[in-house]
Symmetry: C2
Subunit: 108 residues, 2 copies
């Protein structure tokens, strides 16, 4: 059993994705985008109990980690779930759960 020098890339990646999901506003945004076909930025901030500025920051965070994408449509910006990002999320957490789910015969 050796001492870790630092956390590895995989652990960092899981933690970063988890951080993106660690605020209820960002969960609400993802659910909203999943339930609506055309999602204009303004619609999202009208819906959430937060200022437009704050919602804009949450959108920026979700975009920078690749869970959503934003396409300019004239004056407005249409945000959508990013299929690849969501699939990656699914995959990364699936692996983690496989790794840490205790088997019935494990002691303790």
């Amino acid at each position: 059993m050796k001492k870790l020098e630092l956390f590895d890339d995989k652990q960092q990646e899981i933690a970063s994705l988890a951080k993106a999901l660690s605020h209820p506003a960002r969960i609400a945004i993802l659910q909203f985008l999943a339930s609506t076909p055309t999602c204009i930025s303004g619609d999202i901030s009208d819906y959430l109990p937060l200022s437009r500025t704050t919602v804009s920051q949450h959108l920026k965070e979700l975009k920078s980690i690749g869970l959503i994408q934003g396409d300019v449509e004239g004056l407005k910006i249409k945000y959508c779930l990013n299929k690849e990002g969501i699939e990656k999320l699914n995959h990364v957490f699936g692996n983690l759960f496989d790794e840490i789910t205790p088997s019935d015969n494990k002691i303790c």
Copy 2:
């Protein structure tokens, strides 16, 4: 489309669980506990590149959200994954992924 008054319990729950996973040290602790049958607190802080005090705080956080449990064994304390907590995590995230995974025919 009505405005949310505040975030609902489900969204809060997902966010809280995600927050527990949002630091690489806590991921490393869960993986370590999954790979070792008897896990004494001191072993964990010997392993991680953090002080004993800091590790103790991460353990406290994981315990308070129910992902691990700690049983006193004389002078030492044995930490283990909490099967129910991990299953709940699995379930909650599984539901979220079902909800937000885009179907192929969805526009955008």
